[in-house]
Symmetry: C2
Subunit: 209 residues, 2 copies
């Protein structure tokens, strides 16, 4: 069973910050915006099944790690309620020491249904305690670091994602696409996840635990 009402669009928020990795946020964005329309089309719903938007601390342009420029839709002060939060990776160092972001995150995750990370985004979720005593994964270059900063977590190697119910962590960069397709399957069923993968011409890697 989906934890969500099938008639109410699911609010998917993707966190942005300076030096975020491009595909970490854009892969999930592509999957969820496509799922919004594939679910509507296949289930003959009257409205898109998801609303996908970006959030950043401040209203100005975000510069990604490769210097792509993104205008966030909302700030920490004015965003809609969030059902599913996606925290991408990138240069997370400044963010795990950013008290404004961590305060916002620790408040917001009390009300979300699912919190997901891609790549080193796991380091950010770790800072608000979400990874304690959970099975988790991250980019291969960050596995040892994550095990160090969250000693109670069981860090999983050689998986594309780990689904722990309210927490889902993805491996590096492209694995965010595989993880997002899994979330679509969980929320809307296999047929819609497969329709999204087919639309995207994506070879879904499903070697999760």
């Amino acid at each position: 069973m989906s934890p969500f009402q099938e008639t109410k669009p699911i609010n998917v928020a993707i966190l942005l910050y300076d030096q975020v990795e491009e595909l970490d946020f854009c892969g999930p964005f592509e999957v969820f915006k496509s799922a919004a329309y594939e679910a509507m089309r296949i289930r003959e719903w009257e409205q898109p099944a998801m609303r996908v938007f970006t959030i950043a601390q401040q209203p100005g342009l975000i510069m990604t790690s490769g210097e792509l420029l993104i205008q966030p839709h909302f700030t920490f002060e004015n965003h809609p309620p969030i059902d599913l939060l996606v925290v991408p990776g990138g240069n997370d160092d400044p963010q795990v020491q950013n008290p404004v972001l961590l305060e916002w995150l620790s408040k917001v995750v009390r009300h979300t249904e699912i919190n997901a990370s891609v790549c080193t985004g796991a380091n950010i979720l770790a800072k608000v305690g979400l990874l304690d005593n959970r099975k988790v994964t991250t980019h291969w270059s960050n596995l040892d670091h994550l095990a160090e900063i969250v000693p109670t977590a069981e860090v999983q190697r050689n998986v594309r994602w780990v689904d722990e119910g309210t927490l889902i962590t993805g491996a590096g960069i492209s694995a965010g696409i595989d993880m997002s397709l899994h979330v679509v399957e969980r929320l809307f069923g296999r047929a819609i996840a497969e329709a999204v993968a087919r639309y995207m011409e994506y070879n879904w890697s499903e070697n999760a635990t």
Copy 2:
């Protein structure tokens, strides 16, 4: 042999327009910006091997098909010289009827080394004659349409990309990542393309013709 000087960064331009498909431009962006650094690291060059930037007709924000907001780096009027042009897909209908874009494109492709399309971006390259008498591909849903609008082209089905030297066309959405990795291999060699795929944790699909 690479057609480029290995000591001079290659200018990679990604065209943006309203209702562009997110992963069509972001996949190649991720590959090329990663290749810029992987090539520098592995070959011990002193500067990034590529410079990746976005270009749009006008200076304002671009809204993608899923309403992501992107600020292009340059306009048609002020962009640097282009070695490799990437034309992503999306809602190409307004662009194939856009005289300003087509005039810019027909001029710019005279000086580029490689022109590449992802997905329905092929329809845009077709409008300036680049696909005439070539083997080409596109998103599966656009194969028949492309064969119709370019009767002299040999449209290839069930491939991830087609490399015709100065023209490279990719299949749908995610195939832009596979195609871009192929371009990286062509320019910098297999080891660097594999290093990029490994960094991105991407399972490279190589079923090209």
